[in-house]
């Protein structure tokens, strides 16, 4: 691109400049030539007249015409030779006098001109240039012709010298121009080259490179949009990488989650098949097989639910009574609450909330489930529904063992457990809060966690409308 621009600009420029110079010098030469032609023509005319007068005078004094012409010729010849003007006299087309330093006669064709017309030529004789003017003497001497040669070699050389120096100047000028053009293009194309090198870097995965904004308006615009593009690519790549990492982690975790119950089921089945067991041992082994199978079933159900909620485009939203929701949750969790001796209370300031009944219920049950797991015996769990900053909020608070800030960051990750061993014992599969988050997202709601270790944990579901 740059080289093309350079070559074409240079070629066009040089072409126009040199053609211009050529045309100028040709027309100049022509103009000059016609100028001097005119003056020599006048000179010739004057010479013919004065010679005729001389001849007439001498004729009257009794000189022969030839003699008179010879005398007159001699006197003028001397005078003009100094000015490098040479004369030739023809009588009946035969040269009788010549002051030319070389032998030259007019050709027949040149002689055949009409009597009273004066002919003008530029003739090259022996390498020198002459203006050749031929014309007959008037009336009574018309068998005589006067040819006038003006040596213009020096003048023409002078012109040529001037033209040559013009061409030399144009060559020097072209050289300077080509260098200047090169530097100019180098400067103008520099941002483009940087863009291309940085695009290559981006193509190789280095998204952090940025261009500085420099150069004219157009270039600055290109650079700016290029930077915007690089930013976007970087952002999207990071998004993709995060996404991929998250997926990979989920798969790793899932593999681990599945492998553990599988190991147990396989192991106990093999144990039962290959060894001689007492009834008690048999019961223990089958019990492990059953509970681990249940765990697998729970994981697959929760995962399926997670996928279905995520895939579902539109969920059915209805207005539901909060009071009823809390009552239903209490009913569902009643057995677990009684087992651990935990008290569940609720306060409601909202009339209703819009959402999918099953999903909202499942979310609150999950949150209360977590609260129960966090509480020791004689704990207390509080459900609240109220307005805050004109947003509807459902909140579950427990006075259990709480979480550290680091744990809070990870709680919604699938398969993350704050207390692995205990959670498994109580039948948790590590998917509860991941599910809650998906449900909240479907309702354009947000989950917010706050906790103090060994004191309390509050989970808020903040609805946006």
């Amino acid at each position: 691109m740059k080289n093309k621009t350079y070559i074409w600009t240079l070629v066009l420029f040089l072409l126009f400049i040199n053609v211009g110079i050529m045309l100028f010098s040709i027309s100049n030469t022509k103009h000059n030539l016609s100028g001097i032609k005119g003056s020599y023509l006048r000179e010739h005319y004057f010479l013919v007249n004065s010679m005729t007068k001389d001849i007439m005078a001498m004729n009257n004094r009794g000189y022969e015409i030839d003699d008179a012409i010879a005398r007159s010729y001699d006197s003028y010849k001397m005078h003009y030779e100094v000015q490098k003007i040479y004369l030739q006299i023809y009588k009946d087309k035969v040269s009788i006098h010549s002051s030319l330093p070389i032998e030259a006669t007019l050709s027949d064709k040149e002689m055949n001109v009409e009597k009273d017309i004066t002919e003008i030529h530029v003739a090259t004789l022996n390498g020198r240039k002459y203006i050749q003017i031929s014309g007959n003497l008037p009336e009574q001497y018309s068998q005589y012709a006067l040819v006038y040669y003006a040596d213009i070699t020096d003048i023409v050389n002078e012109w040529e010298k001037r033209n040559n120096s013009l061409f030399i100047a144009s060559i020097i000028f072209s050289g300077v121009l080509s260098i200047c053009l090169f530097i100019l293009l180098e400067y103008l194309f520099e941002p483009l080259e940087r863009i291309s090198s940085i695009s290559n870097q981006i193509a190789n995965g280095e998204y952090k490179e940025k261009l500085e904004i420099r150069g004219g308006e157009e270039i600055a615009e290109v650079v700016q949009s290029f930077n915007t593009m690089a930013d976007k690519i970087q952002y999207q790549m990071e998004e993709l990488e995060n996404h991929a990492r998250e997926k990979q982690r989920l798969i790793d975790d899932l593999a681990h989650e599945l492998r553990t119950p599988l190991t147990a089921i396989y192991g106990y089945a093999e144990y039962m098949q290959k060894t001689h067991l007492s009834e008690e041992d048999k019961y223990a082994a089958t019990n492990y097989i059953l509970s681990e199978s249940t765990r697998l079933k729970n994981i697959s159900e929760s995962l399926l639910e997670l996928v279905i909620i995520r895939e579902e485009k539109e969920i059915e939203m209805i207005s539901m009574d909060i009071e009823q929701l809390f009552k239903k949750v209490h009913q569902t969790e009643n057995i677990k609450l009684k087992e651990k001796g935990i008290e569940l209370v609720y306060y409601n300031e909202l009339k209703e909330i819009k959402g999918n009944k099953d999903l909202i219920e499942s979310m609150v049950v999950n949150l209360v489930d977590n609260a129960i797991k966090a509480c020791s015996t004689k704990g207390k769990i509080t459900m609240r529904a109220y307005f805050e900053n004109e947003k509807k909020i459902i909140e579950v608070e427990d006075n259990g063992k709480g979480m550290t800030e680091k744990q809070l960051l990870q709680v919604t990750e699938a398969f993350y457990r704050v207390d692995t061993a205990r959670s498994r014992k109580e039948g948790g599969n590590g998917l509860g809060l991941a599910l809650c988050e998906q449900i909240a997202k479907k309702h354009h709601a947000e989950l917010s966690f706050s906790s103090k270790p060994n004191e309390k944990t509050i989970v808020k579901v903040i609805f946006q409308e």
């Binding site: 593999a255 492998r259 553990t260 192991g267 144990y271 492990y288 498994r424």
Partner: protein
Amino acid sequence: MADILVVEDEEAINELIRRNLKLVGHTCFLAMDGETAVEMINNKSFDLIVLDIMLPEMDGFEVLEQVKGTPTILLTAKRSVEDRVKGLVMGADDYLTKPFEMLELIARVEAILRRTKKDEDTFVIDNVRVEFHSRRLLLEENVVEYTPKEFELLEVLIRNRNIALSREKLLELVWGFEYIGESRTVDVHIQKLRKKLGLEKRIVTVYKLGYRLEV
């Protein structure tokens, strides 16, 4: 008869390993997390530790750092080569990937115990006494003549006692992979062993599976 510490946060698997190792005569001690494990290591000396890498809070590698001199088998759910290499570099003796087979667990435990000379040298059942290192077989204090394959078969049965072994497995363990024999060979050798040592009631035939030495 080794003392083995099993560190595994999944109760089901912990219990499974304990039960399997108990079958072949080892005594197991269970730890559900890293801290407990380290405490137990400091208070008692074990012949072997079976250590899960994925433990809550303090993971297997951290526990491994605290283990001084006790042979360790790592238990890992991940198929990650890095984890295994890291464990082996840190001084673990072997590793086992979940899910594992009973015989694999027992074989690896046995191999390490043999290397550290903590394996049993003599085994007594009824009137029979087997001395592994000197390869002597005694019935009521009288030396019994045997072929090398018979002794090896008996050893495999003892090492995996209380566990049913299929004919194919026995062929593989005693005769080796390259042996292209019939499983009848196993039956013939078992018959000879039973007769020679009077172990008809001890070496039982398990329906569709193979044989088991019951102790």
